[in-house]
Every structure is written in C-alpha cells, then in structure tokens.
C-alpha cells in the first residue's frame, strides 16, 4: 500500500512539473524579454543588429520573440490575457496604446524620459501625439511612416506630368489624362481593408480639417454628418469615373504596388514602407518611382500628414523594468541605431538628430513633407478605438464594392459606430 502511495506521490510531482510548462516562462535575472513584429520583410535582421549594439554597450541580454505583423495583434492579446506580457514590446501609437493604458497593462516612462533627456531627441509633433496617454508618457516612438501618393515616374512623365498636382482639380485632370491613355490612374489593394483607409483619412482631413476628424475619431461627431458625406462624395466621384483599378477588394497592398511598378497603374496612396518593398524588388528611388503629398482640396484648412508611429512600451509587470528602460532610452537616443533601423524598414526616424543624408532621396523628401506639415494625424485604424475601426474598415470595402449605396452605408455606419463607441 505504502509503495503505491509513494508512486502516486511521484506521479503527482511529475504532473506538477508538467503543468508548470503552461505557466509563463521567466527570464534569467538581468535579461530583458521583448516581443515585436519586425519579421521577414519588416527588417528582422536589421533589428537584431541594433539589439546587438545595445547588448554590447550595456551588457544586458535581450531575450526576444518576433511574431509576424498581423499575428502579433492576436499574440500580444493572448499573452496579456495569460498575464505573461514580455518586459518590452513594440506597438502602434494611438488608440491601440490608449486602449491598453486604460487597462493598466503598461508602465509609465516619465522618469526615464526625463533622465534620458528624450525631449531634445524625439521630434516634437511625434512626441506630442504619440507618447502621452492620460497625462503620462508610455511609449518611445522610434520611427514613423508617412502616407503619400507614390507613383511610377515613367508613366506619369508619359502622361505629361511635369510637377506634382498642386490642387484637387489638377489631380483630377491628371487622372482623366491617364484614364484616356488606357492606364488605371490609381491602384488600390483593399483585400485586407486597411489600405483603403488612407483615402478616407486624407479626403476628410483636406475637406473638414484635422479638428473635425479628431472629433469623429473620438465619437463626438457622426458618420452621417455633412462633412463625412462630402468627403466620401469626392471619393465616390473618383470611383464613378473609373479612376481606381477594377476589383480593388481582391488585391493586397503589394499587388497594388506591383501594378504601379509594372506600369499597369500610375499611382497608389500608401505608406513609406512601400519604398522598402520596391527597393527590395530592384526599383530605384527617385528614378523609377517618386511620391507627391496628397493634394490640397480646400483653402484655409491646415495641411496634415497621415501615418502610423511604431513605438516600444514597457509592460506594467515587467520583471526587469530597469533593463527595459535602459533599452528604450538606448534605442531612441543612439543615432546610428535609429538610422540603420529606419532604413531597413523604409521608415523615418523619430530622432531629430539623425542625419537626413542617411535616407534615400524619396525618403528625404518624405521627411521634409512631414516637417512642413501643420499637423500629424494617425491613420484611421490607429486614430479611433478598435471596435469602431472594425466598423469603418468594413465600410470602406463595402463602399468600394458598390459606391452607389453610399448614403445607405453611411446611415448604417453612423448607427453601428455609435453603438461601438459605447462598448
């Protein structure tokens, strides 16, 4: 009998150790755990090189787990649910960070920010919009992207474009010329919905202005307001005139980029990461492709730039928060790290001390455009709360599928968005 009990005890011990596997895996003392979405084409190799520089400089080991960009959104949530967030993770500034700040899952970094003197390092418009939530700083914005009209230089030269369209009328005329020549003026790959959002962002920002847009994003304005109807109306006119490629909802953003690269389409409204993609397939910046800012539509409206800001945050229960803070400060302040990393990602560094000469000509122009902009706005799905973003993103694809239903769609979205804001 005794022996059986002993065996049972052994089994119980075995089981205890087996189930222990399901719990969080703790890092060794001194290590900082990090999870991020810089895999494959988003610059894993370059990221690891920069992390290596931090390890060498400080002697602190980083233990990392990269997860693909789209999967990361789910992965980080699952880890949060299991109370096993890494010490540091990358995240998209804006409504998404706000969302987790409200859940008390992040650690404020005001002290670190002050002691590392990041005020003199981070570009002010980015620092103002991306780092502070509920009155405290939570995020180090290491780089940002800018959405502009990227085009095939040869195609637009053949269509007679000598200077970027300065007004909406000029832009529409350019589209008409291209259409007459049998080239689709605008490529769009909205299969995954988000690429369509930049059209909404810019049309609304250029007609109703950044203040109204901020209200809409915060739930203080409605999707059936005349401002939204007017912006969507401009988009509808363009779709009705056949300025967009057919079946945009069937393509990825890379399909759209390919169409422009091949010359089947002339332009695409996309973030600066498209330069990373195009450079990767052998296109030469400034020679094969270039960009111009989204044209002005109405006078008297502040000129806003749109884009996402990538940042690093520290989780509230970080086991090694001192190491984590050192990591954030180092990655932000070191200009060499910032330049290399931004280059690999086709992004712009948020560090004002990075020499603009490290960028290629197109990215230099993008940096100048953002610097000259009067406001910097996060793109739609980072500007409004996730439940509302879902409603809006679906609206864009539905509208692209059948623009004639615009009124009906906006009425339904106004109701759905109101309900989603309450959640």
């Amino acid at each position: 009998m005794f022996s059986i009990t002993r065996r049972s005890l052994m089994l119980a011990a075995l089981l205890a150790s087996a189930t222990g596997v399901a719990g969080p895996v703790f890092a060794d003392a001194g290590e900082v755990t990090i999870s991020h979405y810089f895999t494959g084409e988003l610059g894993l190799k370059a990221f690891n090189e920069q992390v290596g520089k931090f390890e060498q400089a400080t002697g602190i080991k980083m233990k990392e787990s990269p997860v693909g960009h789209e999967d990361f959104k789910t992965d980080i949530l699952v880890r949060a649910a299991g109370h096993s967030l890494p010490d540091v993770f990358s995240y998209w500034a804006g409504a998404r960070v706000d969302f987790i700040v409200k859940s008390d899952s992040l650690r404020p970094i005001d002290d670190m920010w002050a002691s590392a003197k990041l005020d003199s390092v981070v570009a002010k418009p980015i620092a103002d919009s991306a780092t502070i939530y509920d009155g405290k700083r939570f995020l180090v914005p290491f780089n940002y992207h800018y959405a502009g009209v990227f085009y095939n230089k040869k195609v637009l030269a053949d269509a007679g474009m000598t200077a970027p369209p300065a007004s909406w009328d000029e832009f529409i005329t350019l589209c008409k010329t291209l259409k007459e020549k049998g080239i689709a003026p605008i490529a769009l790959g909205s299969k995954n919905r988000w690429p369509a959002q930049f059209w909404f962002d810019y049309l609304l920002l250029r007609t109703a202005g950044p203040d109204y847009r901020a209200k809409l994003m915060a739930g203080e304005a409605s999707y059936d307001d005349p401002q939204v109807v007017a912006a969507m109306g401009l988009w509808k006119e363009m779709l009705d005139q056949g300025f967009f490629v057919e079946n945009a909802n069937a393509d990825d953003w890379t399909d759209a980029a390919d169409k422009v690269a091949r010359g089947d389409a002339a332009m695409t409204l996309m973030g600066t990461w498209i330069t990373g993609y195009w450079n990767g397939v052998g296109l030469v910046p400034g020679q094969d492709y270039d960009f111009f800012p989204f044209p002005k539509i109405r006078d008297g409206i502040p000129n806003a730039a749109v884009g996402p800001v990538d940042g690093l945050v520290i989780s509230a229960n970080a086991a090694n928060h001192e190491g984590a803070e050192k990591f954030l400060a180092f990655m932000m302040s070191n200009t060499d790290v910032q330049a290399k990393w931004a280059e690999a990602q086709g992004a712009l560094s948020a560090n004002v001390n990075v020499d603009p000469k490290t960028y290629n000509s197109v990215m230099q122009d993008a940096a100048k455009t953002v610097a000259a902009a009067e406001a910097f706005a996060f793109n739609y799905d980072l500007a409004t709360t996730p439940p509302v973003a879902e409603v809006g993103l679906s609206m864009f694809t539905r509208f692209i599928d059948d623009p004639s239903k615009l009124d009906e769609i906006l009425k339904a979205v106004a109701v759905d968005a109101k309900a989603a804001f309450k959640q």
């Binding site: 949060a80 649910a81 109370h83 069937a250």
Partner: protein, 293 residues
C-alpha cells in the same frame, strides 16, 4: 487486488486527464466565466455584466449573418463532399484503368494543409489572371474578370467549393472501403435477376453503404465545425462580413474589437450548438448500430 487496479487506473488516467484539465477544461470554464464580464483582454479590469453579452447576441446583426452563413457552410460542407465522394467511389470501384492513380489524385488534397489549399484557390479565383476566369473566358468568348472572393454574393460559395475539393477525397476513400465490404455475389445475383445498374445502386449498394455514410457525415460535420482556417486564409470573413461564420465572428469580436467578454459569450453559444449536434449524432449512431451492428 480490485482496489489495487482502481488505484492504478486512476494513476494512469491522471496524466491525460491533467493535460485535458489544463488545455481543455480550464479554457472552457474560463470562457464561461468571461462570457458574463465586459473584459477586454488586457489587464484584470472587468465588471460582471450578467447575461448582457448573451442578450446582445439577439440584437447583433453580424451574429445573425454569421449564424446563417454557418448553416449554409455546414449544409454544403456535408452534402457536397459526401455526394462527390460517393460518385467518385462508385466510378473508381473495381477495375478501372488507371484507377489507382485517380484515387491518389483525388485523395491528395486532404494531405495538404488548409493554408496551402486556400492559397491554391486564391490563385484560381484571382480576377486578373486566375485559372477560373481564364477557363470561363474561353467558354464564354468574353473576357471574364469576376473577383470571386471579393464579391459578397460569391465569396462564401467560392470558399465552400475549395473546401469541398479538399474534403471529397476523404469521403471517397471511406466509401471505397465500404464498397469492398459489399459481397460480389450479391450484386451478381441482382444482375442475373435482371436488376438494372441504377436499381442495383439505389436498392442494394446505397443501403449497404449506410454505415460508411454515417462515418462520412460525422467526419464532415466535425471538419466543417473546424473549418475556420481556410476561411481565414481565403476571405478573412469578408468582403464586409459576407463570409463570416460564427467562429470567424467570435474571432473578430475577441481579437479585432478587443471584446473578449462578448467573444466568450459567442464561443459558449457555439459550444452549445456543437454539443447539440454531437448529441443528435450519437443518438443516430445508436440506431444505425442496432440495424447494422
């Protein structure tokens, strides 16, 4: 001795049971728990909202849409592979020239992962250069550029077709096994007695294949409930929710909208539906066993 055995049984069952407890029962009960909260997935900040999440299901247009799609998906995922599998098995049974090669070809898709099958069919459906539009253009004489997966009226059907293509091989193999169990003499007698081919199939072969049909349908139901991956790859529930199933809807609410509480309520409803289907299946299985077992 008896007591000794009992202890050993418990000891031996303990490892699998504990794995189940951690990876099945614990998440299951967590879902029940979270379904009565407004938890958003981050942190441990939530309120109890009673049955609000379940009440919301009744007013959620997207839930109703997903429920209808799930019904269509399950019905099609049961009927189409079963019929095609049966048809192929009847054609390939016996001595068909190249039969072995055909069987391999038809069975092959089931060995592929849903991700690969999804990708292959995305290419087939691609509007600009996809195979399907090319074939239709040849038949039709006009240039077809229909975006099968990007149009709300065809998205779900297109995924079902891809799914059926993958699953048909499995039903075929089960039916082929069933066919080998039917005695040759019986069919010969029928033939001598003057029964026509269709009479032999309808009155002799099909009834004797009932046990195979039960297995095929059971597997189809189970596989169709699991059919989330191919939808996720091919349409992601889109365009604008037109191919959302309940599993997809649950995923969207939980992981895209960060409404874990509501997502959990949907998963509880899904669980109850699956439980009901399995219950019905077991009852039918008993009946079949009584007749054929």
């Amino acid at each position: 001795m008896e007591r000794h055995n009992t202890v050993w049984r418990i000891a031996l069952l303990a490892p699998p049971l504990s794995v189940f407890a951690v990876f099945v029962f614990w998440p299951l009960f967590s879902s029940f728990f979270y379904s009565v909260t407004n938890w958003n997935g981050f942190g441990s900040d939530y309120d109890f909202v009673g049955l609000d999440n379940f009440a919301k299901i009744f007013t959620d247009k997207l839930f109703m849409n997903a429920a209808i799609n799930t019904t269509i998906w399950m019905a099609a995922a049961i009927v189409v592979p079963t019929l095609f599998g049966l048809g192929l098995a009847l054609l390939l049974d016996g001595k068909v020239p190249g039969g072995r090669a055909f069987k391999t070809v038809f069975y092959l898709p089931i060995c592929l992962s849903a991700v690969i099958v999804g990708q292959i069919w995305i290419w087939i459906y691609q509007p600009d250069w996809g195979l399907l539009n090319a074939v239709l253009s040849n038949i039709n004489g006009e240039k077809m550029r229909y975006a099968w997966l990007a149009k709300p009226d065809t998205a779900l059907g297109s995924v079902i077709l891809a799914w059926s293509w993958q699953q048909t091989g499995l039903s075929m193999v089960i039916y082929l096994a069933g066919l080998t169990a039917i005695p040759e003499d019986l069919l010969e007698v029928c033939e001598i007695e003057g029964a026509k081919l269709w009479q032999r199939i309808v009155f002799v072969v099909l009834p004797l294949l009932t046990p195979s049909t039960v297995v095929v349908i059971a597997l189809s139901v189970i596989n169709s409930l699991k059919g989330f991956d191919i939808l996720y790859i091919m349409t992601g529930g889109g365009p604008f929710n037109s191919s959302d199933t309940l599993a997809m809807h649950m995923y969207n609410e939980s992981f895209r909208k960060y409404l874990m509480g509501y997502g959990s309520a949907i998963s509880v409803v899904l669980f109850l539906i699956a439980l009901t289907i399995i219950g019905i299946y077991f009852r039918q299985l008993k009946k079949v066993d009584r007749i054929y077992g």
